[in-house]
Assembly symmetry: D4
Homo-oligomer: 251 residues x 8
């Protein structure tokens, strides 16, 4: 609803094609749909991610299924659908709504693929420091793909064995955007950032124990990164990192 | 020094054009220069930011001036030079090295402009929530410009007077990347992120008192942003935000 | 027991109508009832909320039921009864004491309605940012109603889709007091506060993960709100927010 | 700018009294004034506080004086002007703009009284726990008065000498709203809240040392208050507490 | 093993009554017993608490039972035995070792009473703010009694209903030492401390939610108490508070 | 003002010796004196510490001097006077009020000795871990003495040289109460507590740097002490520790 | 892969014994093995610990078993294998891969002994403060042994009974490296460090409750140790402590 | 004072060569010297560091000078003397005691060299990430040298330019112990640790701003290091790191 739209409505009123009260009504028909407990924002998909997304955590299986139902109701919509932080129960409920839904148990992601169009210009590379970071990395990978990007993975290349990372410098330099997940000391994005000239989206993971403070240590490490092409998203937020990466990759 | 370079050196050795001990030497001549207390990394400018940068805080005026001297020694180098977190004393020392250095007291930035080339594809918009955030916003603005970007500003549009922001939606939608600085509750990036489809780099500022905890409240707010195109850099890190924005804007 | 009451007792003693030792006794018959492990304060209902309230968390079903029994024992008492943070087991125990008790599973609230009198002067509007905040919002809504207020709801109007909120400005401006629940970055109260001239009681929720730190991020955000009509209660304290709102609405 | 205003503008367009491009212009003439580094929001005074306010901290004396100059430029404006967190230098700059400005050094408040109208319905009582809390209490007191309220003070009635507080129960019960400042353990609002039926706005102060953590201990104490009519604002935010109290007192 | 003991051993050596190597041996026979995974310190009971104590948390039922077995092996020992933080399983294991063990499920304390001697000079009063604090209060009460003290209880006298506490000032002034448990804002010890002249041992409890931070809010509140006769022990440490109270009560 | 006093006043009313309105007046003449910005509580001295105390921090020299003047006005009062956290300027102001005031610059304490009576039954021993803890230890020592106790010192006996402490076990065992100050890891009270059977009041000091977090590390260490006769006061609160110790020593 | 190795490869190329593309290949055959979700680094065992290690937490039993299978595939490898943070399920999976695997349920360690060679020069002593620290201590003990060291244990010698520790000074002075585990206040390493001249590796444990903050109190205590031969590893990281100790013991 | 010493004294008593009271006296003549406010522990130098050390922070110049005077009083003592955290004033006071004292202003260290003996077996390498870490690195370097070690430096090799570090792998592999200082994200020790087989002592520095939280981010990063040969000391504790390194280097 940018200012052009407003001008257009005003024009119609000016030209006598639209009554003022009708204009007020029209402003109300904003592109979101109210299903009682949630307002499904179909336009957000158009505006931001070329996919419709449900954050599964804290919602009942029924709530998730209802939201998905509202999403698939629009027959002509071709956006992919992504449910994050879901479990087997939620998947069962979603599958009843849509048969071709797929569940990725490692990351708890449900995907419904309705389009295979690639809209991202380059490759998004998802790098992870250790095997325990893989769930978050996979959430990022699936999100990036559902949002219309080519996405590759490079796992288990933590900084304490720097040769493992340097071995794959080719993959790093081939990427247009890098998502870098790491727990514990969260040092990987700094090293990766120093090796490339493209943006690095750092995702701290809650991997670790004790002084990792549930991922806060990694988060702080990344925020203090001495590489100047690194930005940070919330702990375990693989989805968010891929959103930003996708948003950059479409530029 | 990518694998092609290594292959090239190896080739020369294989062809008998380079002795093995000389090859080892060459590997040592990496593109940074050792001036005793610091290693000036000329290549970083080439790789990452089209500008050479000195972080002034915690360095003596003399140290900063020495680093700048090493940077300007390369006559044919055309990168702009940026000193952040500097004060009047440091500026005096830098000015002795280079006459055309300029000081921006609000943000503590010193700039030496050696090139006016625009390498960024679109406009970087720097948005700030309140007047107290302006020093950080200015650091971002100057950094973006010194790195070869068109950069605009939109100040004092905090969320408690949402009409001030909505009034300027045109500027928001015209930007290719947005840097958004805010202190206190750090809510601005979420609102801005919801209004645009481009990446938003959020910079928490240490503006505020009491429960703002020196910017930690704003930082946490931004990390938890419900807008999915928002990433975050360190508190008061206007420089870093502009680096990432610039890096994205060259894609 | 204000100073008038004390003067009255002293008067009676002075007039020889009350023996001094009896006066001491009378002072002891303060309006609370000791049921062993708890002192039921019947007067608090009169003084503060027009409802008797039990905080269910950390009490056994039997303890809750006993307290409710003491509350309903006073036949002529007409205050509504509210049990917060209860579960199905506690509800079962309470239902044995009082047949007409109702359970609201989403928020874990038990209500026993003994009066439908409206004592609040205007409408309390309960606003929530996301679907995950609804349990807290519902606790506030039910509390406000049981305390004799007209209360309305406006859900899922988070700041990343600001048009959803602006669409309902009418509801906002019609309210006499607003309770505003939000998790994650907790930015909603600032925006709402900037749109209205009435008090906004902000309730951070523990919605979120990672850097939301169990609601602390939202709490800090709200405490740093740049809107000057916002005050804050504890994380997830929908009950407390409605108490204050009700207390204001009776002024 | 509520929906009535928009309807009115639309009506004028419909009636041919206003061209559509002029309507767009009018929407742009929102009631704030851009003075370069700040947007003076004259309407906020009308909407929220019956006073125009400048937060002095982090602004130079010149910036504060400029903002005050913009405020007093509107000859017919009768709102009082309040500058908080100011010092003697800022006062000197403001005094040059407006002769009748007054400085309150204990709290760092500057006041310019342009109206003596009382718009609040009852009395706002400002209570403080210790002598060290007085600066914050005075900021609240002056703010309340400049916003058109009768305001009284009750100082040095901390909970470790509970008889001092109980002695003044009359003042407590006479108030329509109470602002309660306390540092250290922040227990006073709970006790005060239990003694009255009106809203209590709690202000933690940074009084104390060691485990007071700059007021965080008092803040946490107040957020956990067992009195259900207590809400909380930021540490040392006497101004904000009085704003809310004033906003309630006009209901 | 004070210096007198050492002198005595030295004397015996000097007088030829003890060989030097035997003296070394004797020094080794310190009054603790090694049962493999733990060193039972029988003397600590003598020195500090007139009771033998096992901290049950983090020990298996078998480990606790073994330690109790070592304690009861000394037939002539008459100290009471106390196991804290135990559950039904641990109790079952202890009961097999000693039939007359008693379990107090509210506080998770197991007691084995072997002596009814009262060695404390006055009464220890255990005060609690709310019903949720009772488990901790009961741990303190039982500990105080098992350590040979008269101990009384005063429960549910939180500061938001200050009249409930003032009603029982007699109990407060009759006590020689007071243990005061409170969660949430932890304000009770300050009020109690202001009403009496004896030491008050404050025990924060983990009662509460959100900003209570698992008892940290109450802990900080108590550490900042403005009453000068208040000291603090760890969160939920009813046992420790009673130990100190008992230690004071024997002076 | 215990219940006996109230009964006495009631009796007088009953016997017609006191009019009811006069009784109300009398209740108002509580033993504190209002000097405008502070209420001097003469009774607290009687009730709790046998000394009148002013906390100097956050008060101007003039305020401190005024409070001291109110204290010394009562000619027949014989309590010692103690000002803590004072500096040379405050001392100068106090000296003008009372010639025999003494300043102890290491701890910032001002003492006015009006009585040499010893009311404590035993010796209070003040132990400190390192030389940096001495200011806090001295504050405790002077407070203990001004409150009528014999007090001794044992300094620089930190746990990393355990022989230094063990060498002085005699002093430890001779004390009736021990105040133990330590910064850094705060381990001394645990070791001392294990060596004696009397109460140990632990005072964390803000000595240290980095991870000492301004004394929080020592505070946490002491709260987790494995010695069961240890309680804790606020960081650097030597005064409070001595108050409690004195309060115990008079039992 | 030190510089000698690189020189050797370069030499072979120079001598025509190795083609340049083959040299690149060789550099790629770094001594780690890619098994899909993890890169098994066989050389790390050679370089650092004379044992191959799997961190079990956050890996499925199948993942652990697969990694172990890759480790045992190399028939001629003689390093011991260690799985930490495992449970019975993981052990069952590992046992299927290798019959002679042993499970240590107290510490959750699985060991596969393939070599009994002692490569450490002296004895590593593992000291623990309380019985609750034993799981962490045992993890350290087993790790030290599997890495080829003589390792002894000294348990339950916490500082509140200092005589228990002093009794065993012989064991302390006989050790070449000491690993010291302690929870609660974490004071033991300071005392131990003061008694010996060898390095002390301190391991905070998550033993405790309330203000122990999950081991953070102990961690901070150890970081602030006043003994200068103490270093610290992460909370509960018995494995890491033993690694460092082993690494020192081989010097 | 090990057990042999005690046995020797006991022997002398047994043989009648030493009276028991004299034996007690002798035990009192422990090898530390009491100079009133501090106990100079000459033996610690012998036991632990081959240098006598004064921690200058929090001590007056006079106190430092007095302690140094006590140290140099022993003519035959040949240990080097080190004062850390000193400033020019303290140096002036020390220089009056001892002419050949040297001041190192960058790190605030004073050295008095009385011995050039090298007792460490290998080289201690001090590595620093950035130029701002140099003060801490220099403190470590000087400490290591004064304690009789060969010590080298490798500065400005932070992980964002990993080639700078890899360039100097020779220095890393030549060291027997490595001290590694880094601020910001504190990632350097993990990378260094992965490259070598010797112990790495990590020193977080307070370099940085915002989310570096005064070095806590670096500290947490290092504690969570994924390299298993890394241990950690307190923030900015270059001295402590060198002590441990020296202690290891003498093994």
């Amino acid at each position: 609803m940018n200012s052009d739209d407003i001008l257009k409505i005003l024009k119609q009123v000016e030209d006598g094609k639209l009554a003022s009260h009708a204009a007020v009504e029209r402003l109300k028909h904003l592109p979101f749909e109210d299903i009682g407990f949630a307002k499904v924002d179909h336009h957000r998909a158009l505006r931001q991610g070329y996919a419709e997304v449900v954050f599964g955590k804290g919602k009942t299986p029924q709530q998730v299924a209802e939201i998905v139902r509202a999403m698939v109701r629009h027959k002509d919509a071709r956006q992919n659908i992504l449910v994050t932080r879901a479990d087997a129960k939620t998947f069962a409920a979603v599958k009843r709504v849509r048969r071709d839904a797929k569940f990725h148990p490692l990351s708890g992601v449900i995907t419904i693929e309705r389009s295979k169009e690639i809209t991202g210009k380059g490759t998004i590379l998802v790098v992870s420091a250790g095997t325990s970071d893989i769930p978050v990395a996979e959430e990022a990978l699936l999100t990036a793909r559902m949002m219309g990007n080519r996405a590759e993975q490079l796992y288990d290349v933590g900084v304490a064995g720097i040769h493992r990372l340097l071995e794959h410098r080719g993959m790093l330099t081939d990427a247009r955007v890098i998502v870098c997940t790491a727990g514990m000391e969260g040092a990987l994005p700094s090293v990766v950032g120093g090796l490339v000239a493209v943006p690095v989206i750092a995702v701290p993971t809650s991997t670790g124990y004790g002084a990792s403070l549930g991922g806060v240590a990694a988060l702080l490490g990344m925020l203090n990164s001495c590489a100047s092409n690194v930005t940070v998203v919330n702990i375990d937020n693989g989805f968010g990192a891929a959103c930003v990466a996708s948003c950059i990759n479409r530029l």
